[in-house]
């Protein structure tokens, strides 16, 4: 088997394993990454919501926010895991295609 094929299979395994990135923080009761809190969270932590932060925080409405489908927020870890796996797969495909596209343009002589 070619190395590139093996590496793609490796990425496929990582896609399937990706919900570990949800389960482990949940299991060990870990919260957001430092500095990546939502508006409610920062209000509780700092005692107030900084004005500029409040305004800018909702600047961008990502189509799949935090690797979860809209409306699935309360559906539990099972659904979130599915969304996470789909996000990982979709993200990998898009990232790979964009990278190949850029590289092809750059090295075209």
């Amino acid at each position: 088997m070619k190395l590139v094929t093996k590496l793609w299979i490796g990425l496929g395994i990582l896609i399937i394993l990706s919900p570990l990135g949800l389960f482990l923080p949940e299991h060990f009761k870990a919260g957001s990454a430092w500095g990546e809190w939502g508006i409610d969270e920062i209000g509780k932590l700092a005692g107030y919501v900084p004005k500029g932060l409040e305004k800018l925080a909702s600047l961008w409405n990502a189509p799949i926010p935090d690797y979860a489908f809209r409306g699935w927020e309360d559906k539990g870890l099972g659904h979130l895991s599915l969304a996470y796996i789909v996000s990982a797969g979709l993200g990998i495909i898009i990232v790979a295609i964009v990278t190949i596209f850029i590289a092809r343009i750059l090295i075209k002589k």
Binding site: L11, A30, L53, A57
Partner: protein, 227 residues
């Protein structure tokens, strides 16, 4: 380490876009000259690897979470400039599609994770693995150390960027407008959690893949040696 929208003031966001622009241009020029067509699939896999490894949130029990970036690995295999482009693509897709990292902070996030991290990791790896045989353990150890240190330097920069905000932007009464934590809190938080936990994740991931590639494809590790 993905700074969201609202944590950095407009001035900081602007500065980092302005800093990244010439870096992206230089990366394009250099990659154009040095990347070979047969390396393109590895570059795409590297970008995809960086994207997905960042989804593996590692918890600090009862505390926060963090993750590896995988960027040192890409830099070791394809050079820091190619890694810069690969990680930038991953970060932009994360921001636009998944809201992971703010769009106003793409410049800053790319500076930390797509510039500082691959360059620091690349040169550290080169220095430690200097003249080491391709199949030597020194290369595996060099990869681990480079991963650990580079992730920590990137985290330090991120902490400083967060921590400068209350100094730069506050109301007359002293309330912060953006990130509310100053240098001391931000730098200690970012540095300690990456020194204690997340740096090791980057180290292990980088070292394990190098170990695997030594067996599977030593020529891939040799690629950047000639250059």
């Amino acid at each position: 380490m993905h700074i969201p929208d609202g944590y950095l003031g407009p001035a900081t966001c602007g500065v980092f876009y302005a800093v990244m622009l010439p870096i992206w241009l230089a990366a394009s020029r250099i990659v154009k000259r040095t990347l070979k067509a047969r390396q393109v699939p590895v570059l795409a896999i590297g970008a995809a690897f960086s994207f997905v490894i960042m989804m593996f949130n590692v918890p600090i029990p009862g505390g926060s979470t963090g993750h590896a970036v995988g960027g040192v690995l890409v830099a070791m295999l394809l050079g820091p400039w190619a890694a810069c482009i690969a990680i930038t693509v991953a970060l932009v897709v994360q921001a636009l599609l998944f809201g992971d990292g703010g769009i106003t902070a793409i410049g800053a996030n790319c500076f930390n994770m797509a510039f500082i991290l691959p360059f620091a990791g690349y040169y550290l790896y080169k220095a430690i693995s200097y003249n080491a045989p391709l199949d030597s353990n020194r290369r595996v150890i060099a990869a681990g150390i480079a991963g650990y240190v580079a992730l920590n330097i990137a985290a330090l920069f991120t902490g400083i960027e967060f921590g400068l905000q209350p100094l730069l932007h506050h109301t007359a009464s002293g309330q912060a407008l953006y990130c509310p934590y100053g240098l001391k809190v931000a730098v200690i938080a970012m540095a300690s959690e990456h020194l204690l936990i997340f740096g090791w994740v980057e180290a292990i991931v980088t070292a394990l893949v190098v170990k695997y590639l030594q067996k599977q494809s030593p020529e891939l590790i040799a690629e950047k040696e000639a250059a």
